[in-house]
């Protein structure tokens, strides 16, 4: 990725320097490209500061929580250390996804046996129609919603609102995003890009008051507003973190308690569940709960883990009269049986986002889809169309491999990103112009004498470049505003990088000297 130049100019860099050349922007068709969105994000200092703080904290908390597994395993409290736990997690998911039709049938049977209603939806239109139908036949005008990536995928809020059903997001972060009319920028922390001043303004507008910016006041205001909605709503909509096939149990994990309220107060509960969310048994769920909390927020377990098995029982004075579980395909079945099948093992913990150097610089909106970070780079082209989204795996990744190391389901994310890139080249979608230079480099640098000659040449070029006004060179202006960018093919590469001074000696020279010294010393 292009690391922005360090220095005081970063925060105030005018966007002119970052405006992409027209042909670069038009390559992805009419849709704004990743590059264009990334450049917009790079120019937003507030967003970048907020994202950086948030992912650094989450990443550190995750690392600590995962490290604790060693001691807990020694006490016999967990299955094993992180490596052992995620090995088992991968086995669980491979088992479930590898027999997904069987486990779906089992889950559907178990949910029905407990009095729930099961729906299967091929895509967004079907989910919208099913939920609209449930709402309208029961006279629902207000629905409360818990955080759900699946409903984001299908744009459920818009589908319901067009039918006259108001939908209120109840996760604090999602509520803030809804008030702002934006999309979540992180799977776990959807509003990390918002400052408290912005949040105070949004909540103030919603309540018609001017609000101070301290967290307790803002959270208190949201609590009061949303509490009323919970009590009035005729329908609660949730996703599911897991569904246990054996018992038909829908599992919701939250820290705020909005998941419990959404599914307890209204008389109808609708859960929209991606078909890959199944686990075979309660024991398997236990393992994933431990991994999910540690990987997403560094907690041992999230504050509320809610296990819903059917609608309320006879004589129970609260809880929903009806439970509807909608299993959403949404393009997932077309991933089965392909080299990308393992991406269906994702439990949406967000750990790969928190560890990704690209995400850390950009936040989630630059990815242009519901899913951001490494998982978005792999999943969005699969669910949202390869042609439109191939620039994500191509450009939003430095292949550092951090995502693959932290994934609690051991999804080989870097391999899957490479698989996307291979497909791009195969289908002739690679417009980077790197193909020929890389082939030439491979041909040349596998011959030692060519390698040595090019290293000497490279150092000479670097010395000259640093003495000129070339971007990144020592004589380049401190603020890269104005037309200093050369129109050459290297401009995009050099604009984002410091040109290091060439080492005074090459590795080969140093090596020869050491050998010499060794001989002299004997």
């Amino acid at each position: 990725m292009t690391t922005p130049k360090r220095g005081p100019q970063t925060a105030t860099a005018p966007r002119t320097a970052a405006t992409p050349r027209p042909e670069a922007a038009s390559k992805a068709g009419s849709r704004a490209s990743f590059r264009r969105r990334a450049l917009a994000a790079l120019g937003d200092a507030q967003l970048r500061r907020a994202v950086r703080i948030s992912v650094d904290e989450a990443g550190a908390a995750r690392n600590q929580a995962v490290a604790q597994l060693v001691a807990l395993a020694r006490e016999g409290l967990v299955r094993g250390d992180f490596a052992a736990m995620r090995h088992r997690a991968r086995d669980i998911k491979a088992e479930t996804i590898g027999h997904l039709d069987l486990y779906l049938a089992q889950a559907a049977g178990a949910i029905r046996q407990r009095g729930g209603t099961v729906h299967f939806a091929a895509g967004a239109a079907e989910v919208g129609a099913i939920v609209r139908d449930i709402a309208l036949t029961r006279g629902v005008t207000l629905a409360v919603k818990g955080k759900s990536m699946a409903t984001e995928e299908v744009g459920l809020n818009a589908a319901l609102e067009s039918a006259g059903v108001q939908v209120v997001e109840t996760d604090l972060g999602e509520y803030i995003i809804q008030l702002a009319g934006e999309k979540p920028s992180h799977i776990v922390a959807p509003a990390i890009h918002k400052s408290r001043e912005e949040i105070a303004n949004l909540l103030g507008r919603a309540t018609g008051r001017s609000l101070p910016t301290d967290t307790p006041t803002l959270a208190g205001v949201a609590r009061r507003v949303l509490r009323e909605k919970f009590l009035q709503a005729g329908m609660g909509i949730s996703g599911a973190n897991f569904v246990v096939a054996e018992t038909g149990t829908v599992c919701l994990v939250t820290n705020e308690g909005n998941g419990r309220l959404t599914t307890s107060a209204p008389s109808v509960h609708v859960a929209v569940v991606g078909i890959e969310k199944l686990v075979p048994s309660l024991e398997d769920l236990a393992l994933f709960l431990s991994l999910l909390a540690r990987s997403s927020t560094g907690q041992k377990i999230s504050v509320y883990t809610h296990l819903i098995t059917g609608p309320r029982g006879p004589g129970e004075a609260d809880g929903p009269d009806e439970l509807h579980v909608i299993f959403l395909d949404g393009g997932r079945s077309s991933i089965l049986g392909t080299e990308f099948q393992d991406v269906l093992h994702c439990i949406r913990c967000g750990a790969c986002l928190d560890q990704c150097p690209v995400y850390r610089q950009l936040g989630g909106h630059a990815y242009g889809g519901v899913y951001s970070g490494p998982i978005g780079a792999v999943l969005t082209p699969l669910l949202g169309g390869f042609a439109e989204n191939a620039d994500l795996p191509a450009e939003a990744c430095s292949l550092c491999g951090a995502c693959g190391e932290v994934c609690p389901s051991a999804i080989p994310l870097p391999d899957l990103i490479l698989a996307h890139r291979r497909r791009m080249v195969r289908e002739g979608r690679d417009h980077s112009g790197l193909g020929l230079p890389l082939r030439l480099a491979a041909a040349a640098w596998t011959r030692p004498w060519v390698y040595r000659a090019s290293a000497r040449l490279g150092r000479a070029v670097l010395r000259i470049a640093r003495g000129t006004g070339f971007p990144g060179g020592a004589a380049a202006p401190a603020t890269p505003a104005g037309p200093v960018s050369p129109a050459g093919p290297l401009a995009a590469w050099l604009n984002g990088r410091d040109l290091p001074p060439p080492a005074s000696k090459t590795f080969h020279e140093l090596w020869r000297e050491r050998q010499q010294q060794g001989r002299d010393g004997q």
Partner: protein, 261 residues
């Protein structure tokens, strides 16, 4: 409903085909019975059940709960339970579960200033407004009573020492909203129901689910007070759920236990 059955059959067949399964002439694929023939769930848990003595369980549970901002106390006599609950619940309406443990302690009348209060030797002071949960309340009234109460009192089916978690089931007298809407939640947990780990909790739940006692319609694992970090990653307590969580650990003499299977 025919439509939805068609969608179901289509989707399951599409999934099966992608997985290389040939179409079953019977139509729908069936899972070989028993389901676990395919899969050994116990391999997701530690090989051996964790064992922890009572004192370790208790201390660890209290330490974890307090680390999360929850309050935990041990009560050695019914009087201590009543005193603690009365202190915490003072100054607002109370809604509580109708369940055997709370009933045996006579908590409802003790708080309301009834005969049990005199039994427990409580000083005479104005009683609290106490509602005991039950089907007689009716759905709408139940909701508004829970919403209007300052304190919700429940028991807990289990506690987890590893995490400071309490496990709240649901039943006719055990409403979901009692532990959810009031800003203060007090849970009474017999010490003998403490389990070492989340893994052991699920070992128990899975065994119960397989041996006939079905899971309740709602089972909540609650670990400390409600929290959010959605405003600039700044931790705040009590966003939707309770702001204050109190767990009163009951010794065997109080819970009438000692014979837990």
């Amino acid at each position: 409903m025919t439509d939805s059955r068609v969608a179901e059959a289509d989707l399951l067949r599409a999934v099966g085909r992608r997985l290389g399964r040939r179409d079953d002439p019977e139509g729908r694929p069936a899972l070989p019975a028993p389901a676990t023939a395919l899969w050994n769930p116990s391999s997701s848990l530690p090989d051996k059940p964790a064992v922890m003595d009572r004192e370790t369980l208790t201390q660890r549970f209290l330490a974890e709960l307090s680390r999360l901002g929850g309050h935990g106390v041990r009560a050695g006599s019914p009087g201590e339970v009543v005193d603690y609950v009365r202190t915490v619940a003072a100054g607002g309406a109370v809604v509580m579960w109708d369940d055997p443990l709370l009933a045996r302690l006579g908590l409802a009348s003790a708080l309301a200033g009834g005969p049990a209060a005199a039994l427990a030797g409580a000083p005479t002071e104005p009683g609290l407004e106490v509602t005991v949960w039950g089907p007689a309340l009716g759905r709408a009234a139940a909701k508004s009573i829970a919403a209007g109460s300052r304190t919700g009192i429940t028991s807990a089916a289990w506690g987890v020492a590893e995490t400071g978690t309490i496990v709240l089931p649901t039943g006719v007298g055990q409403g979901r909203l009692v532990s959810l809407l009031p800003p203060v939640h007090i849970a009474l947990l017999p010490e003998e129901h403490l389990l070492p780990s989340v893994a052991e909790l699920f070992r128990v739940l899975a065994r119960e689910a397989r041996t006939g006692s079905a899971l309740p319609s709602s089972l909540s694992l609650a670990t400390g007070p409600s929290r959010s970090a959605d405003i600039e990653n700044d931790l705040t307590i009590g966003v939707h759920g309770p702001v204050e969580v109190h767990v009163v650990l009951l010794s065997d003499t109080v819970s009438g236990g000692g014979g837990l299977a």
